[in-house]
């Protein structure tokens, strides 16, 4: 941190106001992880803002090149750790497209259902921490109460609360557990009333409105040009959602709306995300009620591991099992850029195959990377206190930015 001279007593009264450089982060409670912001201040007004990232860089893209396609699924969880299943989904869809695999409807619907639960989970963490940044402590407790229930559902499905790796290339990792319908049903029936609870605490709260309305505004053109995606664009008036525009995993069969606002400020982003909570709950409900029967893995013995019974009784299944575990499966040469709508915006995996069992190159387009790039536009010319609100409203995950 550069040391500003702040000895006010010695400053002559007629001196020109002095610029000060303020270092925010990498260890700052409102930067949620290890983001460092360098703010140039004129009094309390930010004249210039810059982000310094890379503190969480772990070289995941390099590691992808060293592992087999199926092994890489576990790496994808660790990129955007607040929505692991949507990362799994995006990677699996990309590789499945390269393999030209047909995924059975039951697996597709299960992916949609769990993906939407992940979105709810991620939005709850955002709502809780964002409102806590702005001084509303109790919302955090309510949000984490519901999040806990979602994590229990994930544990029930995959044995893991957070790093689930439940989607695999070709389908799901395990058969859905006994009694999952009751667990999901119980949660999703109660959830809309919980969203009402959050709204009662915040939506008409005068302190909340004052802290968020008119703050962190940037024009839609600016946001698009800087690579911002997702709820931030929807809060600025653009009804663009990849689930509608480029449907994947049978999203076209679900009935839901894209919430939009036109104000483009922090409050509008809050409204959009709260409405998305309700829409996601609607999708989960539809998936639960209309879940098709049938297999949850593709009929592709060279990609999907055989079940234990077959492996122990059929020679062919044993050979496939041995081959997949020891040397993986080969993916035809080519490249694919697959996008999905993550809770933060456009998430994309660009997978290049050279025909071997390991990806030649994987580029991960994390939505937080673009969203964070648009941040200086939202905070320059505003007060420092508003920067915290704008920062929280971008809903970034540093694992997703730095990879």
């Amino acid at each position: 941190m550069s040391e500003p001279e702040t000895n006010i007593a010695e400053t002559p009264a007629d001196a020109a106001p002095r610029r000060m450089t303020l270092n925010m982060g990498p260890q700052h409670p409102s930067t949620h992880g290890v983001l460092r912001m360098v703010l140039e201040l004129d009094g309390e007004t930010i004249t210039k803002a810059g982000c310094d990232i890379g503190y969480l860089h772990t070289g995941i893209e390099k590691e992808f090149e060293a592992k087999l396609y199926q092994q890489n699924v576990t790496l994808t969880d660790r990129i955007d750790y607040l929505c692991p299943l949507i990362n799994n989904l995006c990677y699996c869809l990309a590789v499945e497209k390269l393999l030209d695999l047909e995924i059975p409807p039951a697996a597709q619907w299960m992916r949609v259902m769990l993906g939407e639960l992940t979105r709810i989970n991620s939005h709850l963490v955002w709502l809780g921490t964002h409102s806590m940044d702005l001084g509303a402590m109790s919302v955090f407790l309510y949000c984490f109460r519901e999040r806990e229930e979602i994590l229990r559902i994930f544990e029930m499905f995959s044995g893991q609360r957070m790093m689930t790796s439940y989607f695999r290339i070709g389908g799901l990792a395990l058969e859905p557990p006994r009694g999952w319908q009751q667990a999901v049903g119980k949660f999703i029936d109660a959830f809309p009333s919980h969203v009402d609870e959050y709204e009662e605490l915040l939506t008409k709260n005068p302190i909340w409105m004052h802290r968020t309305q008119g703050v962190g505004r940037a024009s839609l053109e600016d946001l698009i040009a800087h690579g911002v995606t997702g709820p931030m664009l929807r809060a600025a008036g653009l009804a663009w959602d990849i689930r509608k525009s480029e449907p994947y995993s049978s999203y076209q069969k679900f009935d839901f709306e894209i919430p939009t606002r036109t104000e483009g400020d922090v409050y509008a982003r809050y409204q959009v995300r709260v409405e998305e909570l309700r829409q996601s709950a609607r999708i989960v409900k539809q998936a639960l009620d209309g879940m098709p029967a049938g297999p949850w893995e593709a009929d592709a013995p060279h990609v999907v591991l055989p079940d234990r019974e077959k492996m122990k009784t059929q020679m062919e299944a044993l050979i496939y099992h041995f081959k997949i575990v020891t040397e993986g499966f080969r993916v035809p040469a080519g490249e694919v850029y697959q996008v999905v709508e993550s809770p933060r915006g456009e998430m994309g995996y660009y997978v290049v195959s050279d025909g071997t069992a390991r990806p030649y190159r994987v580029f991960i387009h994390g939505p937080s990377f673009g969203n964070l790039q648009g941040l200086p536009k939202m905070v320059e010319g505003r007060l420092v206190a508003d920067a915290i609100a704008a920062l929280g409203s971008t809903d970034f995950v540093l694992g997703d930015v730095d990879r």
Partner: protein, 153 residues
């Protein structure tokens, strides 16, 4: 977007084109990249750059393939532009003037692949420390990293 429209507007810019799994890729002459991007943005409504990345085809030459993932929200269309650069002269014009969002993506490619973007407003490392030697995503850079002597700091 028809490929012919691009070939007409910027003659000689499209070196090759392919469609794989329903996705279009165009190989663009590096010298005409900015002209192509301006045409796509202004005439074809490709108002968004989804990302910039690179693929290292070491030891084949030209070694680096810079990939631009271009997107039009309005037309709901995606396009991939590719430029091949030789290892001895890994330089290309920056597209930050066309889409400001390219800034960090180009810095990332510069950091991890060592490709230089000319006329970039702020070309420095973004992920690795400023003092880092080498470019980790190059294929001749080992996954385990190079030996680093912490006592020599």
């Amino acid at each position: 977007m028809s490929e012919n429209a691009l070939a007409e507007a910027v003659p000689g810019s499209v070196l090759a084109s392919s469609v794989h799994r329903g996705q279009t890729s165009l190989e663009i002459a590096p010298a005409q990249l900015v002209e192509v991007c301006l045409f796509l943005r202004d005439q074809q409504r490709f108002n968004r750059l989804s990302g910039v990345t690179a693929v290292d085809w070491y030891p084949t030459e030209p070694r680096f393939e810079i990939v631009y993932l271009v997107h039009s929200i309005e037309c709901n269309e995606r396009l991939r532009l590719k430029c091949r650069l030789p290892s001895g002269h890994a330089e290309i014009e920056s597209v930050t003037g066309v889409w400001p969002g390219a800034n960090w993506y180009e810095r990332e490619v510069f950091d991890l692949f060592g490709v230089v973007f000319l006329n970039h407003p702020d070309l420095r490392r973004i992920m690795m420390p400023e003092t880092w030697e080498g470019h980790p995503l190059r294929k001749d850079y080992p996954v385990t990293g190079l030996k680093y002597d912490y006592t020599q700091e």
